[in-house]
């Protein structure tokens, strides 16, 4: 049996892609492409378009928050008299903007746009595979995502408007179509979009995991994988195991909305009469199901960004990444812990204090692997030969946001403090910095860094610097003051604070935030111009523009299906031999064999593969590898 399976594996691996080239026409090359590089571009560009939509929405509702009593006639011209009567945003449209902004940014930009793009691009290229395990399923994954984006965008075109119940779609608001206009058809479309999105995430995740486990080239042992791949791998695991739970939750919600069940509906009275045919359900049940996805989701967002950052910081500091195994164990730890902390979003639901304590402890423990990662970034930078290229700036920006946003996470993870801070702008500030800005900066770093790999051209550096500094400063100016508003107890999602005198005093700060947000939004125009013009007329890139070790830079620049002409390169060393003594160049690609007299650095002993005794028993060798990494077993 074994021999059959092995021959299978090898024949199936090389057969479909490598030797014979299929004839490609426009449709199979650019639209229904099964090539992972093209699919990654499709993810990226769809993500960028959705990102622009989400950003424009945020500018609109920021205008309302800063100048709640003024009117902007241009808004009426642009949005029509239904959504902006008299140049002032309609309250329910404001709620729609907030809801869809959150949904787009969390799912469509930072999940699909970030991990979809870079997992697709880098997993086959950095592992040394011809393509994904199943290129066809990979293509389906993109098209389900596309369909999902279209359905969500269409919800702006229907009469009752988009979903207005917040991106967390808590029942009973989301379960009662008659509760408000945006809980009707708009909410249904939101759910349909999300079902498509979940399908896309699952198809993608299955592919990513299989490719990483099964398709690595010769010599690419798990402990020689670049940290990007480790991050994408665990991102895929998280998505694979948590999105189905949202699917289950959404299924019950759909039945509550449309088919008369009451899983999430308890007693509700409108005008003294029971509004429901049934009762006895629990809205808290939905929160549990939602946050079982919702919390790992924030790690689905941040892990790929952290992986990208590890790679870029090591390359641009021209130093081996500090603490490779610690980084991998941290990613593993974060991924594991993320499954058992969802309750910290629900401290004030009347949860048993003991349960709250358990969730709080696990939440605060996440600070440990996160801090390990931050310190490792700083230690990698320490005394490095730092090249301040645009991707490096964005990567350092990520570290800055990750630290300053992570620190406020300690406040919120504490059940007692969370009672005061829950649903205030402090929460908004916290998650925008730690997962919004940090992940966007990771994504930007990745785009600037791998743009030459994607399009064979370089992006403009000057525009890149300008883009970085404007965005970096604007982002801090937007989200730093929000902490203070939140500490004062100003609640999120409110439409107009001037009618509440105790919150109206913060209006000047809101004006500052809005101005900064507009500057930040305008700065993205530089990026868009830079991105799209460089695709066509950027400077031609050389084979390995950043002098990087990883495999993707050994593949030819022009797009071929199958990634490498001829044989797939073999890997002989880990990905971080930068500035290694004894070499002329300050980098040693993974494909360079180790010579007999080459000096072994201390940490490389840990990296040598499994012990010979158990080499055929993978369970033993994997666990012994983990034990060795954890320092529990001497080699």
């Amino acid at each position: 049996m074994t021999s059959i399976a092995e021959t299978l594996y090898h024949s199936e691996e090389s057969e479909p892609h490598s030797t014979h080239h299929h004839k490609e026409n426009f449709i199979t090359k650019y639209i229904f492409s099964q090539d992972h590089k093209m699919i990654s571009k499709q993810f990226l560009i769809t993500g960028i378009i959705m990102g622009c939509l989400g950003m424009m929405m945020s500018v609109l509702f920021r205008l309302q928050l800063a100048w709640p009593d003024s009117s902007f006639p241009i808004l009426e011209t642009l949005l029509g008299s239904k959504w902006a009567p008299g140049g002032k945003l309609d309250p329910s449209f404001y709620m729609g903007l907030v809801t869809i902004h959150g949904t787009i940014m969390v799912f469509f930009v930072l999940t699909a746009g970030l991990s979809g793009t870079f997992s697709n691009l880098l997993i086959p290229l950095q592992c040394g595979a011809r393509d994904m395990a199943s290129p066809f399923i990979n293509m389906l994954s993109y098209w389900f995502f596309f369909l999902s984006s279209v359905v969500l965008t269409i919800s702006f075109l229907i009469e009752s408007g988009p979903a207005t119940v917040g991106w967390t779609i808590y029942p009973p608001l989301s379960a009662l179509p008659k509760a408000m206009p945006g809980a009707g058809l708009g909410m249904t479309l939101w759910l349909v979009a999300m079902v498509f999105f979940i399908v896309s995430a699952l198809l993608g995740g299955i592919n990513y995991i299989t490719t990483v486990l099964n398709m690595r080239t010769k010599g690419m042992s798990m402990n020689r994988l670049p940290l990007t791949i480790w991050a994408f791998f665990f991102t895929a695991v998280l998505g694979l195991l948590t999105f189905p739970v949202l699917l289950g939750g959404a299924l019950l919600l759909i039945f509550d909305r449309s088919f008369g069940t009451s899983f999430y509906l308890s007693d509700i009275f409108l005008n003294g009469e029971g509004a429901l045919a049934n009762s006895g359900g629990s809205p808290i049940l939905f929160q549990h199901l939602f946050w079982f996805l919702g919390h790992p989701e924030v790690y689905i967002i941040i892990l790929p960004a952290l992986g990208i950052t590890s790679e870029i910081i090591a390359i641009n500091a021209r130093k081996p990444i500090f603490g490779y195994t610690a980084m991998v164990i941290s990613i593993t730890g974060i991924a594991f812990l993320s499954f058992i902390v969802w309750g910290h979003h629900m401290f004030i639901t009347g949860m048993n204090p003991l349960l709250g304590l358990v969730f709080m402890i696990f939440t605060l423990i996440i600070a440990v692997p996160s801090a390990v990662k931050s310190f490792n970034y700083l230690a990698t930078l320490w005394r490095g030969n730092i090249h301040f290229t645009p991707p490096m700036l964005f990567a350092i920006g990520l570290v800055s946001f990750f630290i300053s946003g992570g620190l406020t996470g300690l406040f919120l993870g504490n059940a007692a403090i969370d009672i005061q801070l829950h649903d205030t702008y402090f929460v908004v500030a916290h998650f925008h910095i730690v997962m919004g800005c940090a992940a966007i900066f990771g994504m930007m770093a990745g785009i600037y860094h791998w743009f030459p790999r994607m399009y064979g051209r370089m992006m403009n550096n000057t525009l890149g610097y300008l883009h970085f500094w404007l965005t970096f400063i604007a982002a801090y100016m937007v989200f730093f003051p929000m902490h203070f508003i939140g500490l004062a107890g100003v609640p999120r999602r409110y439409y107009q604070f001037t009618v509440l005198p105790e919150f109206g005093i913060w209006n000047d700060v809101n004006v500052l935030i809005t101005v900064a947000a507009i500057i930040g939004a305008l700065a993205q125009i530089l990026f868009l111009y830079n991105f799209f013009s460089s695709i066509f007329c950027g400077k031609k890139s050389e084979q390995n523009p950043w002098k990087s070790n990883t495999l993707e830079w050994t593949a030819p620049v022009e797009r071929i299906h199958g990634n490498w002409h001829g044989e797939i390169p073999q890997v002989h060393r880990w990905a971080y031999d930068y500035s290694k003594p004894g070499f002329e160049e300050d980098y040693v690609p993974q494909t360079v064999p180790v010579s007999d007299n080459e000096e072994q650095l201390a940490f490389e002993h840990v990296l040598s593969v499994d012990n010979a005794k158990n080499e055929d028993n993978y369970t033993v060798s994997f666990s012994s590898l983990m034990l060795k990494w954890l320092g529990l077993k001497k080699s």
Binding site: L8, Y9, S134, M215, G248, V571, V609, S621
Partner: protein, 252 residues
Amino acid sequence: MTSNTQAVTSKTWSGGRSPFKISYGKLMMWIFLLSDAFTFSSLLVGYGAVRFSFPSSPVLTETQKISPMSHIGDDFVEKMQQTGIFSEKHWPSADLVFNHFPFLHGIHLPLMFVSLMTFILIFSSVTMVLAVEAGHRNDRKKVEKYMLYTILGGLAFLGCQAWEWTQFITEGSTLSSNPFGPSQFAALFFIVTGFHGFHVFSGVVINFITYLNTVKGTYEKRGHYEMIEKVGLYWHFVDLVWVFVFTFFYLI
């Protein structure tokens, strides 16, 4: 030092081969099943949360006890409602709800029919194992035979489920109300067994496609019957999920 000059070896995890010694297709199926297990878990956990927010139905007194095989009238449900055994306030006991059997109306046969369904489904897993085993021996005739049995088993299960749903609906159950207990009782029954039935239905379709391919000789030409193994994995999974659904809905 020389021991560390890492010549490219083909050790299990060092790339160039599958660490699990299986093709990527089978690995993908395993991973998909892992993910699907979480979907079912979320529904079953939701079921648990709703169910245990209601008290269980009262225990039958000695005089109320109905012995299996005894005759029960057409007004069984009404009698149960009058005595307060069936009430919106507490979760009904599955013994008293699922006690019908085709062609044996009026006889109290608690959980007999669902046990038969479970037996059929488990038996179809056995025939699936035999098909996979025949595939290992490249025995096309046997693969055809056992795949056909498996498909028939799946269809029989779906037929049973259709009968049971019909019975349940005839007695007055809808998604929003039912005569046995809280509205969630019937709603969860429909959603969870429906979701499982949908999986069985997809499994039957997939089994049928692989059966056709076996008959056409596709796998014989390919030289191996791995596809049978992959659909077999899915089929066993669906079977395993049913064991949990059966346990949670009918037994506990």
